[in-house]
Symmetry: D2
């Protein structure tokens, strides 16, 4: 009997960075995916060395992604790659993704989805044409506690929403480290590789996505200010936005890469007529619930808590007090993506739980977010800017 694991090929993600290994762990953890091939770097030496470190046979370590897609297509159907994961700078998302889709290969992409909004829309069109599955690693939407938050809000536990605060402070770019090598700052602060936005593309998109994901509401207009605090940097490294969402909900988004001491402090607080919910990524297995005139409730998110929603339970691996973290959140995206692809292969309808991963539509909206905040944030005249479609 054949293995039923999905076969993954990787574009980028070599051993000189750290994010490739994160993707790999997230993909492998659930025993539903195996790495079968890859082109891990634009440098063939690095690609080869990485492939060996990842235990691949020589013949499936490729020098270019074009070569990979071509040669894999020649393999017997049951051996060739099922999906490609693309872990490259933003500038280099679109081409391999489009090539994969054109060859009937599913795709997992890092966010933001593309370099430009136009590319994003082209991917959307291709996904719609082909019916293939595209997952976007907005990893914070993979945390069970975030899913619990979404489920409770959707169930009306907070009543009609009023006010959202979403923050993503980091401090690692407080100095101009991009002019040194050996870090991930280079392409992120280079508009030719990252796109129109720096801070807002890299982390602002995560904050925006979290806000729309948990609330189930869309941003409609925005008043923003972007800043570049570090001299010589050609792109934003900080910014804030007042966002008007559907149904009169007001959201405040603050993101910064110069807030020294904040490692990766994305957090969100949502308030409605009947209560409030808070989640802090660096303490990810808890949710804080407030209702009027009652004690605060600290909702632990673990497998043995009967009070959790089905949406959360589906994505939990451990009983309470056994912390899950970033890699498990990442793995939830891979697992749900893999289950969806498998269901599709089996000509079954994926369940709503399987479909709970960020997809091409999130990717398009993310690029629209970047367009909108850049337009609003560098302009001192227009106060409110409509969402750029």
């Amino acid at each position: 009997m054949k293995s039923r694991k999905l076969k993954m090929g990787m574009v980028g993600g070599g051993i000189t960075g750290f994010i490739g290994a994160i993707h790999l762990r997230a993909a492998l953890m659930e025993n539903r995916i195996e790495l079968v091939c890859g082109c891990f770097s634009s440098n063939p030496e690095v690609s080869r060395e990485s492939g060996r470190a990842y235990c691949l046979p020589e013949e499936r370590i490729y020098s270019t992604y074009q070569e990979m897609f071509e040669k894999e297509a020649l393999l017997p159907h049951e051996e060739r790659m099922d999906f490609a994961v693309i872990v490259t700078p933003n500038k280099h998302h679109f081409e391999p993704a489009m090539m994969a889709l054109e060859r009937g290969i599913h795709v997992v992409l890092d966010k933001p989805m593309t370099f430009s909004l136009e590319e994003a829309k082209a991917l959307q069109q291709k996904v719609e044409e082909t019916g293939l599955v595209l997952a976007l690693t907005h990893v914070y939407a993979g945390y069970p506690a975030v899913k619990e938050m979404k489920a409770r809000i959707a169930a009306g536990e907070l009543g009609n929403l009023r006010r959202i605060y979403v923050e993503y402070p980091q401090g690692w770019l407080a100095e101009r480290i991009e002019i040194k090598s050996g870090n991930n700052a280079g392409w992120r602060t280079d508009p030719n590789l990252s796109g129109k936005a720096g801070c807002m593309g890299d982390i602002g998109t995560h904050a925006w996505h979290l806000c729309e994901y948990v609330s189930g509401l869309k941003v409609e207009e925005m008043c923003a200010e972007l800043n570049t605090f570090v001299p010589g940097r050609p792109i934003d490294d900080d910014g804030t936005a007042m966002m008007r969402m559907e149904h009169g909900v007001k959201a405040l988004l603050a993101a910064s890469q110069v807030a020294i001491g904040n490692a990766n402090n994305i957090n969100i607080r949502v308030y409605g007529e009947k209560g409030g919910l808070k989640w802090i990524q660096e303490d990810p297995n808890k949710l804080f619930l407030h209702t009027p005139h009652n004690p605060e409730q600290v909702i632990y998110v673990g497998g043995d808590y009967p009070y959790l929603s089905q949406r959360a339970q589906w994505n939990i691996r451990t009983p309470g007090g056994h912390p899950e973290g970033f890699i498990e959140a990442f793995a939830n995206i891979y697992r749900n993506f893999a289950l969806t692809v498998a269901a599709q292969k089996a000509e079954e309808q994926p369940t709503p739980e399987m479909l709970d991963f960020p997809n091409v539509y999130d990717g398009v909206r993310g690029m629209q977010f970047i367009e909108t905040i850049v337009k609003a944030g560098w302009n001192d005249e227009a106060k409110w800017v409509k969402w750029v479609e």
Copy 2:
């Protein structure tokens, strides 16, 4: 030998509210002030009952503040009141304060200083004419940890500042409780008693003051949005402002009275080129310091820590681990005010530590803050609004 305690008369603050007793405790704690008279309510019955509860002799419990100022003036010099503390709705700050100053009586006032900016400027002029002392109870500036924050920033520990986040979320007005009696919401949500701003007058002013106090910088322009979330309420109960401060510093201010579960969660984070500092009022005896590439430092603020500044040490009462709180912060304002008045009486120069309390100039700027944020916050056209002088 005569007692050297300062003699305090009180306007408002009767036993039907809680804030009068807070002022009293803060004033009495240091054994430098005694309560000698008062008119505690516009209701003479309540005033009398309160005066008795506060252990005053009958003849020094008054029915109106006018009567109090007149009759006290007839007492021997060493018996009469030295200063008046005014604990009334904003609408009723100005008249008793001005009357006190005109009679040579020092004043302690709740914030915001007055109902209108014009009144504030008139008080400033009178203070300058008379040389009397006016203290404003921006209580959060009284916390030792806040003073430590100010001292470290002034000493350059963070380098040039870049980004400030100041928040003041509360949740107690998430429902329209002001239509019921028995709470403090009534006058605070009534523009005829509170002034042009609700949330921003009541708590936004504290957040703004904290921001300018710890940074030593002034706000220059503002882009804001005010909201009223609770139907039927004629004044703001929520708002956010992007504030541009001197030297290019950007501050984000968020205040809300509908953020359910937040009791009184004022907090501030300041980031500069060289580090960051964070303070959270509900955990008030700690300061969090971040410098690049180093562990976070949790600076405990207690009398036995040699690493604390003189500015903080002067305002500490207990060794580490023996929590000080809101009443002690309040008491620091009273103590420094009392020492300043005593120095003035003794024809001595108060030390800088004695003068470290909010004064009439803070009061005027506070009213300008209200004018500016109301102008900016309800207007969807003008993005950036200059500070209203």
Copy 3:
């Protein structure tokens, strides 16, 4: 009409230490007590200087407590002191306390109540004979959250109790600082001034008291180990005890003065059949409640929370989010003591809330605790030692 304030005389507590000022603030804060006289030091110069700093008239600053008691007795009844507060090393608690009681003067005493158990029993007998009021400043029993904990346990919210953990780690004696001057370590580590126990007398008694206070149960036997970690110190600076309480409840007590980084970290956790409660003194306005299969509840202790017990409400001064601390807890002991004395003077029955302060019986049991833990803790042979009566 005469002031109804209670008149306080002080023994010890001069300006060279910090604890006198703490007592004074706690006593004065509620406007029910005034300082009228004192002998603040065995050094008459320090006593005089302290009295002046405390705003006393010269004639009521005494050089010895004997002189104080004698001269005060000659004053008109309405002027003389009502009660004495004794703030001296343990060795010097008994004599002034006994002298006060013999002259009809109520007493407030620091803990442990006396130098020896015999002295404690003598004070108990005298209190019973005279009907006077003696309060002991086990300050941690003064915190509203501790009272809430006691109230909930008494109401059966945890079911029958099973297991208690009470800890009191400090770190300030990790070095032999007592051989330097200018700190409070000298008499505390000298068996001739502090009594049989060092760490266990100074802070172990607080931990034990908290354990019996919140549980309403008494310790029956003990297995303990005392340690002296700092070379040259003639008394315990650390210890642990397994304690068997009434009804089969097991308590674990750990106290240390060499746990570097712990300022004053007394905390208690109580578990019963139906739930658990936790309190941490350095974050004193919260109580953590656990029940099976439910989220943790963080119970904020503030004046506006309807879910709090009458026992707690009576001792709260501020609404939620306005932290109360150590001095307010201290002030609750003074206030309840003062109300009890006032009720007695008025020939009324004090209410249960008024009587909620540690008294002479707590003092005797505290001395028995010291006897028991010293007997158990330095003996490697006997495993379980019965409570020493």
Copy 4:
């Protein structure tokens, strides 16, 4: 070219429990191990269903572990299993482990290593005879922050140690849930399956191991009390021990399964002459460092912090602020075990970092811990009990 992955066979760990999937994720995450066969349950149906869920071919899903070891031995050398992981109740650790070792198969075992001390010693002897590798999943020693703690203590950062507090409170056995099915409590509370100790075997051993691991010191004698709080339970569900370690260090161990609200709250605090360190498993990526007269340092444990030891860095996967958790700690044991086995296969010397996983000697000492605490804890006569060899 052949895959260089290690081939894993599993005993126990079927889909009806949760711990098998945890082991699997931990093993697979690093792409160095693949699951090739298993006998997942004593129920052949469950074993088969589990093997299919784990994507195994039918022919390598076995009904008994005896069958597995026999049939695997007949496979070509490059296909057969390299090591067995044994995830069964304690009673059933020894036989499959011994059978594996006898057939030249390496072993990963859950703790406690065996049912009895005798079995443990037999395994030790066999490991020494064969030179095979045996890893024990004392998972808490796999956390990078714990390794950082060990490294700093070994480097003398705390000076000579004095006092350790180690706790492991849980609450899930506060009711007698073992009489219901569908939970993991059954065999854990049955002395015929778990061994002499309940709470102390299941979680006390973890606490003890953590204490010896981070301190590098051994327990020499013990004074203890074990308790059974839940009526009808035939084994301890709570206990405390005062432990005397080498060099005069005193440790206090407290473990409980009836402390409601504690999910899995293992934590440790170590104090020496020069400082203290604290770690709390439920917030696992931080370490709290205290030195005299300095602010607390919160040491974040992430890949980008230059201040971390080599021992910690080796075991970190993510940059700061991207939480790692329980599964990653588990995976560190698997990874280091796998690297050691691989080095052995390659006839290379494993590095010290590779060898940093609990092994057969930890397993023997763990069984001695159980013997000692059971002897000390149920005996009211002997105060101090020597470590049982």
